[in-house]
Structure formats: C-alpha cells, structure tokens
Symmetry: C2
Subunit: 143 residues, 2 copies
DNA sequence: ATCAATAATGAAAATGAATTGCAATTTCAT
DNA sequence: ATGAAATTGCAATTCATTTTCATTATTGAT
C-alpha cells in the first residue's frame, strides 16, 4: 500500500474504513473487476458501501498507479490491481468472458522496434487477443 | 462493394443515395473516423444527411466486415475501412491524436504462439501503442 | 406506371455507464 | 472537543450510443 499512502499524503486525503476495505479487497482479489462487479462483490462482504464510493476508490487507485483501467470490446471499464511494474497483456474469451494475463518480452521488444521506426516515443501499450478458451472449446455444444 | 452487396441481399436491404454516398465517402477516405467526425465531414460535401443515417451506415459496414470498430482510450468508437483482410495495429499519439497504422508479421506470429500455449483459439486481436509522435516531440514547447 | 410491402431516414427520446453536485457525515490535527 | 476539510450516498447530469416512431423512398409485382 505504499504508493497509496504517498498519494494520500500528496493530495491530503483522509482515510476511511470504507475506502480501506474497498482498496484491500480489490488489491487482494488480484483480478479484473468492472465497477459494478466490484460493487456487488463488496456488497456481499460488507454492507453500507455505495456504488459511488467504490467508483471513486477505483479511480483513486488508478490515479496513483495501483490499478490499471482498460476497456475490452464492450464499453465498460475494467480495473485490475497492478502489483509492481508488472505490465501484462490479455487473452479474452469471447464466450465466457474469462480473462487470462500473459507477458511476452519478445513481443514487447518488437513493439519497441516498430515504434522506433515511426519515431514514436511509447509510453504505454495494450495487446489483447480475443478468441475462445480451451474450456469453451470443449463444451462447444451451446448456442 | 462486393461484400456490402452480399450483405444487402442477405438482409433484404434497399439502397439509397444517402447511404451510398456515406459508404463511398468512408471507404475512399481510407482513414479513421468517429461517427461524429464522419458526420461532420460528410456534411461539408452533401447536405441533408443526418447523424442517425451516418451512424447506421457505419454499423452496417461494421456488420458486413467492411469497417473495423475500435475504441482507443477515450470512450468513443472509431471506424476505419477494411479493404481486404488487411489487419493492422495502431500507434496513437497522446498529444495530437494522430493514428498511424502498422503491420508486423513477427508480432502476429508470437501472438499466435502465446494463444496456443493457453489453448486459445484466437479470432481477433488488437495491439495499440500509445506515445508521442515525432512531430509532437519536436514542438514540445507546449503545455 | 401504379400499388403494396417494406426499408431508410430524421428528429426526438431512451439508454447506459461514467461522473458530479450537494447536503450530511466522518476524519484528524490542534 | 472543535472546526476545517475530506468522504459518502443519492440523486442528478453528462455524453456517446442506440432506439422509437412517424414520414418518405425504394423495390418487386401487377
């Protein structure tokens, strides 16, 4: 939580048990959430936390670099905890929605080369592969 | 226009000069547009075409595979004509918004390898590199 | 060419997620 | 304990997207 503390100081934030709960829950979960998903999940474990609060906590985390924000296909933002500087890319199953993360240094290197070729100074990138996961391929007897 | 004609037949569409104009304009322009951008651009060349019609034409094109739909960072959809099976990726300048397209077979191959490793059957992918373009790097004396 | 069936269009309304305003509540340094 | 300032909840707003519906245009059959 170090960088959250730093951010907290920097912007004169105060702490609250609700926000702390949200932040902890999110960081420990270690997976993707839409605001609504996180809101619903949290509702199960602790009541009296509103959607707005979850939304704002997530925004805060994104601001201080503890959460990554991204949109896959649909127009809903998804957030995921960022432990260190662990950038990773995504494999997204179009059937079940499962999201798998991966890293690949070679791809990163090639990306860098491409950017260089065009004179771009790259600060971020996103790579997403959409398809059908192994499990969904098996039980393919669906609509 | 072949695949548009096919789609037209398949879904019993009728033709109209307005839609034809939009489709032609878009396909010839050969670049990215948000619905609004295309609407404004078209307005300059021919009057009496509403936002709805542009919106619907773009959707149609996306449906029949002649236009690609994507969202970069902000939450606005952008469309681009797809000539053949020319998949390409994007370099996006965070300052001026310029979008440069590129293709890289090696990266594609590596992506394929990764997917295979996880048992994914990939049907689509997107790769975007965000940064500052050469021109914006030069005239960096801005806010 | 005329007619009926059906698609296309425009304008306005609806939708849906993201975001904000504001009053009430809580935090925290003093 | 006190007061300034942050947090929260809820309702309201925003903004792009999408849909509705009345009107107009297109097409195939006659």
């Amino acid at each position: 939580m170090k960088s959250f503390a730093r951010h907290k100081t920097k912007y004169g934030l105060k702490s609250s048990s609700k926000r702390t709960f949200i932040v902890d829950f999110f960081m420990k979960a270690g997976r993707h959430f839409t605001v609504e998903e996180l809101y619903n999940e949290i509702k199960k474990h602790r009541k009296g936390i509103s959607y707005s609060t979850v939304y704002r906590a997530l925004k805060l985390l994104a601001d201080c670099g503890l959460a990554g924000e991204s949109m896959f296909g649909d127009s809903v933002s998804r957030y995921e905890p960022i432990s260190r500087s662990d950038h990773h890319d995504h494999l997204i199953c179009s059937r079940c929605g499962r999201i798998i993360e991966f890293e690949n240094g070679k791809i990163e290197q090639l990306q860098h080369n491409v950017a260089e070729k065009y004179g771009f100074s790259v600060s971020a990138h996103r790579l997403e592969l959409y398809g059908v996961c192994r499990e969904c391929q098996r039980k393919r007897r669906r609509k």
